[in-house]
Amino acid sequence: MTAIAAERPRERRTFRLREATWRVLLFLLVLAALWGLWEGYRWLWMREHWTWPFVVDDTSMPHIHDFLRALFEVTRPGGPLLISDLLKAAAFTAREAAVGFAMGAVGGFALGVLLAHFRVLQRGLLPYVVASQTIPILVIAPMVVVYLGSRGVPAWFSVSVIAAFLTFFPVTINTIRGLQSADRRALELMRSYAAGRWRVLWKLRFPAALPYIFAALKVSATASIVGAVIGELPSSIQDGLGGQILNYSQYYTIQPRGLWATNVIAALLGIAFFLVVLLAEKLVVRRAPENVA
């Protein structure tokens, strides 16, 4: 009796290569389609002078090639290119977000393990954990910055704390869900091996929870960037993307391309974080192909 998916290694490699090229092509195709959609919408609305849902002009919808070109122009005579400014700012924000993400992921996971194992704690604490996320971040951010600042914590770390705050919740919720997702029969099996609670955690619950945890980490990856950018605003940090966004939003009516260009860089940063988590998932989670969330 032969196994179901017994392909020869070489066939599998060329299959993967072809699949990868297809994915890249598809991505470029979608990108081109969106670009076409943007330009088409712009052209049509401006030609027909339609005003619904919003007036289309150079401010609200500049040409895509316009603000992409703006990236490669200098911000002031003899100064650096816009893109280099933005990339430096993005790197700064990325560091804050990464630290925040790490803290939030670890903390969220630990809290999830605790709440999954002690039902009493879960029932008691979970409502407060949920409630904490409903407070607008723009309210919490200044409080955190001011409090930590008064304790001598550097401003960028306060931003990381804010990013962690936005990161931990999905991780906690999904950790609880994942840890409790273990099959009843698998737990019986563990009992038949006289395995203690923590060994069951390490050998059964944790691996079973990984797909859920990575799903949460993907959400958190982008949430940590949002948290970092918002956190920079009350901290008056100039070096990050938050500062750049503030700056260019002030010039938006005069020179909209700057803000749009900033958007592009911020989006790319979010995508980069997401891809890192995706890559980590591919390396860590070995599952039947359909089972990866």
């Binding site: 009796m1 196994a3 179901i4 998916a5 017994a6 099959d183 029969r185 698998a186 019986e188 099996l189 563990m190 009992r191 038949s192 091996y193 006289a194 395995a195 060994r199 050998k203 059964l204 691996p207 990984l210 989670v285 070995r286 599952r287 039947a288 089972n291």
Partner: protein, 265 residues
């Protein structure tokens, strides 16, 4: 000393709820192959789990290898196989078989040797690097059996292990199980729905009836060992199958009579 001794075991779920088992007395000797057969609700799976200390009896006692069931579980004196192979998707076949050995803190070399031996026993050499989803149902069950036997337990508990497989795979795995039973020298308690399977595999068939769950008959199987494909075609085989079937019908009659008595009481 019997491998398993069950005395006066009763199991009631919930206060005044269903009586899954009532007054079960059973002794299983070394190297026996005992099948538990009966209709749904007769408590055979519950009884198996009570032997394995996965369910506590409401009253009565169970000793395995001379110890209380709980101690036998802690000492890992038995292996268990469910109808669902319950393999871990994230582990390879080899690592799945090694799971109980890891929990028993065997060192790496001993584990590797034993996994190799188990793969040979269940005839899955060459599949150590595969993942469960790459195997057919029958192969997954064989991995499950290999895992259950990996730490060489004296007792093997099996809860309808071939129930989800097709007839042909089932018959093949029956032969393999008998071969494994011979090779490992273990005692097997086997829960099944299939009369033919019970008669073919066992040295003794315990017929159970439901409501309340109890043993209604014990049928010793005197077919020659080792059993072969031809055994299924012997007249004695059919006689025994008929005997078991009649015992099951009688059990069903008992159950119905009991239900009527309850209704009219």
């Amino acid at each position: 000393m019997s491998v398993v001794e069950i005395t006066g075991v009763t199991k009631q779920f919930g206060r005044g709820g269903t009586t899954a088992l009532q007054g079960i007395d059973l002794a299983i000797e070394e190297r026996e192959f005992v099948s538990l057969i009966g209709p749904s609700g007769c408590g055979k799976s519950t009884l198996l789990r009570i032997i394995g200390d996965l369910v506590q009896p409401t009253s009565g006692s169970v000793t395995v290898n001379g110890k209380p069931a709980r101690q036998a579980r802690v000492d890992r004196d038995y292996g268990i196989v469910f109808q669902d192979p319950v393999l871990y998707d994230w582990r390879t076949v080899a690592k799945n078989i090694a799971l109980p050995l890891e929990l028993a803190r065997w060192d790496r070399r001993r584990r590797a040797e034993r996994v190799k031996a188990m793969l040979e026993l269940v005839e899955l050499q060459g599949f150590e690097g595969h993942h469960p989803w790459q195997l057919s149902g029958g192969m997954q069950q064989r991995v499950s059996i290999g895992r259950a036997l990996s730490f060489d337990p004296a007792l093997l508990l099996m809860d309808e292990p071939f129930g989800a497989l097709d007839e042909m795979t089932r018959e093949r795995l029956n032969m393999e199980l008998l071969r494994i039973w011979e090779a490992s020298g273990s005692t097997i308690v086997f829960v099944t729905h299939s009369i033919a399977e019970a008669v073919f595999l066992s040295t003794r068939v315990i017929v159970m009836s439901a409501r309340p769950g109890r043993i209604s008959d014990v049928v010793p199987i005197d077919l020659p060992q080792p059993r072969t494909g031809a055994t299924r075609e012997e007249p004695r085989f059919f006689e025994l199958v008929t005997r078991v079937r009649e015992a099951l019908h009688m059990g069903a009659d008992l159950e119905r009579a009991g239900a009527e008595a309850e209704a009219t009481a």
